[in-house]
């Protein structure tokens, strides 16, 4: 319970304090190996402003991060997070997140974020194992603002506004060699050029909340009733898992990044060929009809709708550049996406469903009879251009970031959850006080189409070098049929206490 959090925090801090002795001796490590263990213990309590919306349990999270230098050229990195409470409403119990399901309602849960070996030589690095990637130059303050080329690590969408980027990302098994080109002797050629290939042998899906959770998208909820061909249909729906793409080599993901420094500008070029880490949903429905025995002219109809994730193979080519000018850093990033799946408003889909024929003789029996229901396509495949531009710098001691992201869905004629030209502006304003012990921030997001916005002020106070306390408020506004505005009843205040070691 929230009231007991401070007491629990004190107890756990006291327990965890001895862990903060950083250097370790590991029994499996060779002589001379150096190991560092660090991590965090975090408590989050979210208070909703609308009691009709799903409740969120207080959450405790313990993250451990181990770095072991096995030699001057070989390093092992491991990272695991245990979480209790949070957004799940009807968790199936304790468990370990697997890499094969979108819907996993676990509490308490254990997540292995990273476990990889890094081998370094002068001109070649290799990382092999479970790892997270963060490509692209644009900022990603929220889950919805993923950089166009940041496609290798899927995300958890349980807590899209409050969870930090690293916690949102899911580790994927990967083989990632990097080749460093020798320094060029010509000042006309780029320097610090490196080429990274990534091979993900299996697809790891994103994690998505269940229908009863706080951040399940309302537009992906089926309305309780719909009118089909003049008949009122009562709808029941569920969100279920679907098989991920089979773990064969032809379902592997391949990606490459060529990056360097030219004329003071950081640049990178990207290629991605694999399954889309972005959520995409589909639905099937089964209908049932019955003649009302008391009023035979009346037909009782109901449907059972199953919403499930679908996985699309996409390709992207893109690039980014970051350059300092007039005391600010400007960032530009874009990608052309081939064949991404975009989701339609599920309420539109259900309202246009078609009920199949039923044998009148069977209906006369008075028994409920199944009837096929045909839904129009829930998601459609479209090419798109994702791009964004931003700048950040200091104005009189205050850090200011402004960024614009735009998604242009090409050759589209149907009504999607996002607009064909979706433009979003985001900002971060940050200033330190009390010798940087107190940090005041305002995060904002504004969407031009559908008109929506998020205002997220927060204060973080560092009690000491190990403990900080954050309080904040998230206010969401906008049209209920927009990507973000659909969450407009999810305004919330929160308190986070963090112990770093």
């Amino acid at each position: 319970m929230p009231a007991s959090l401070p007491r629990v925090a004190v107890l756990v801090f006291a327990f965890a304090a001895p862990v903060s002795a950083m250097p370790l001796r590991l029994p499996f490590a060779p002589p001379g190996a150096k190991a560092d263990l660090d991590g965090k213990l975090e408590f989050l309590d979210v208070e909703r402003t609308d009691s009709a919306n799903p409740y969120q349990n207080p959450q405790g999270k313990l993250r451990l991060h181990l770095t072991t230098d096995l030699s001057a050229h070989v390093r092992f990195v491991g990272d695991m997070t245990g979480t209790a409470g949070g957004t799940p409403r009807n968790a199936s119990g304790a468990g370990v997140y697997d890499l094969g399901h979108v819907k996993q309602e676990l509490s308490p849960s254990l997540e292995f974020g990273e476990a990889y070996l890094q081998i370094e030589t002068t001109r070649f690095d290799l990382r092999v194992g479970l790892q997270k990637f963060a490509w692209g130059t644009l900022d990603e303050p929220y889950a919805a603002e993923q950089a166009p080329n940041d496609l290798l690590s899927p995300q958890k969408f349980y807590e899209p506004l409050l969870e930090e980027e690293n916690d949102r990302k899911i580790g994927v098994p990967a083989l990632a060699p990097t080749v460093y080109l020798p320094p060029s002797q010509s000042r006309y050629l780029p320097s610090d050029v490196r080429l990274t290939f990534v091979w993900l042998p299996v697809y790891v899906p994103y994690l998505f909340p269940d229908q009863d959770e706080r951040w399940y998208p309302p537009l992906a909820r089926v309305p309780p009733e719909s009118d089909v061909m003049g008949i009122t249909v009562e709808n029941q729906s569920s969100f279920v898992n679907a098989p991920v793409p089979s773990r064969t080599l032809n379902h592997s993901t391949y990606a490459a990044r060529l990056s360097g420094l030219a004329a003071g500008a950081d640049f990178a070029l990207y290629y991605f060929d694999g399954f889309d880490p972005w959520p995409s949903l589909d639905a099937t429905a089964q209908g049932f009809v019955r003649l009302d025995p008391l009023s035979p002219q009346r037909l009782d109809a109901r449907s059972e709708v199953e919403v499930f994730p679908v996985f699309h193979h996409i390709q992207t080519v893109g690039g980014d550049v970051a350059y300092r000018v007039f005391g600010a850093t400007l960032r530009l990033e874009g990608a052309y996406v081939f064949d991404r799946g975009y989701v339609r408003n599920l309420q539109d889909v259900v309202s246009s469903e078609q009920i199949g024929a039923v044998d009148p003789a069977l209906l006369l029996s008075g028994e409920e009879q199944p009837v096929p229901i045909t839904l129009s396509d829930v998601n459609v495949r479209r090419d798109a251009v994702e791009w964004g531009a931003g700048g950040d710098g200091f104005i009189g001691g205050t850090f200011v970031l402004l960024q614009m992201n735009q998604t242009a869905v090409l050759r589209n004629q149907v009504n999607l959850l996002i607009s064909d030209m979706e433009t979003r502006f985001s900002t971060i304003v940050r200033r330190g006080f009390l010798d940087d012990r107190l940090r005041a921030e305002l995060l904002g997001l504004y969407g031009m189409q559908g008109v929506y916005g998020v205002a997220h002020p927060r204060l973080t106070y560092a009690v000491n070098d190990h403990i900080d306390v954050r309080i904040g408020f998230v206010a969401i506004a906008g049209h209920e049929e927009s990507v973000v505005g659909q969450y407009r009843r999810n305004d919330e205040g929160y308190v986070r206490v963090r112990f770093l070691f």
Binding site: R324, D436, A462, L500
Partner: protein, 269 residues
């Protein structure tokens, strides 16, 4: 973040070698610059413990590991990794400093192994909550290169004992109006050939604002080096103590050490 802060302070800690005889303040400063330029190492490696003490005596500690390389004429590259506290552990900062344009800086965030080119901070802003502003760091780096046109000098006292060492006291009045300081007083050890103390006086009231004290001098690879630097803020009652250790000069650090590649790896080979 830093504009190669530690490398710049290191330069200050090495200010060196002037003979003791009747000279003007400008003579002393020019000689110090000449000797120091000749001794300036090509590269430096060191660890730094930065202790921030607030007005109530509470202390916060930051540990850093720093690599720097000089390319002459106030052109320098520096790489800093934060070792503690936990919030910034593993964070790396790469700075390329130039005399005639803004520094180029890259920040490495270890959690996601992401390197980002970043913009410089406000010159008046504190470095990591310390008593050093970025302006101070730039100023300390520039002192030895100042000409008489850039800062008028005056010999205030020929001899004053500081930390058991006989020093000349020199007043400098920087002409750059963007500095917060009306004047500085430097204590130059005429026999040991090092700076021992600097006082910073504010513009408004010409009152003492900050005092920088250098101590714990050791000769490392032939270069006199202060292993302890303290900046005390007289108005706020705070102070910042920098303790340098494992200092090594002229290791032959290559240009590739000061690259995004090294930042991405999160360590120097």
């Amino acid at each position: 973040m830093a504009r190669g802060i530690l490398s710049r302070l290191t330069v200050l800690t090495m200010l060196a070698a002037v003979p003791a005889h009747a000279e003007t303040a400008r003579d002393m400063l020019d000689r110090a610059k000449a000797v120091n330029d000749a001794r300036e190492p090509k590269d430096t490696t060191q660890k730094t413990k930065m202790t921030l003490v607030d007005s109530r005596g509470g202390a916060r500690v930051r540990d850093l590991e720093m690599y720097s390389k000089s390319y002459g004429h106030r052109t320098r590259r520096a790489l800093t990794f934060f070792l503690s506290p936990p919030e910034v552990k593993g964070v790396g900062l790469l700075s390329w400093s130039y005399p005639d344009r803004d520094d180029a800086q890259w920040l490495y965030l270890p959690e996601l192994r992401r390197v980002r080119q970043i913009s410089g901070t406000s010159r008046k802003q504190s470095f990591q909550g310390s008593d050093f502003s970025y302006d101070d760091i730039e100023l300390l780096d520039d002192i030895r290169d100042w000409t008489e046109e850039e800062a008028a000098s005056k010999l205030v006292r020929e001899s004053e004992i500081v930390d058991g060492v006989r020093c000349a006291v020199i007043e400098l009045v920087p002409q750059d109006s963007t500095y917060d300081y009306a004047r500085l007083l430097l204590w130059l050890d005429r026999e040991g050939s090092t700076f021992r103390k600097i006082e910073f006086y504010d513009k408004k009231h010409d009152s003492l604002l900050k005092t920088l004290t250098l101590g714990g001098f050791q000769t490392i690879d032939g270069i006199p080096t202060a292993e302890r630097v303290e900046m005390a803020n007289a108005k706020k009652g705070t102070k910042t103590l920098l303790e340098f250790s494992e200092t090594r000069y002229n290791r032959g650090l290559t240009d590739e050490v000061f690259s995004e590649r090294t930042l991405e790896r999160g360590r120097v080979d």
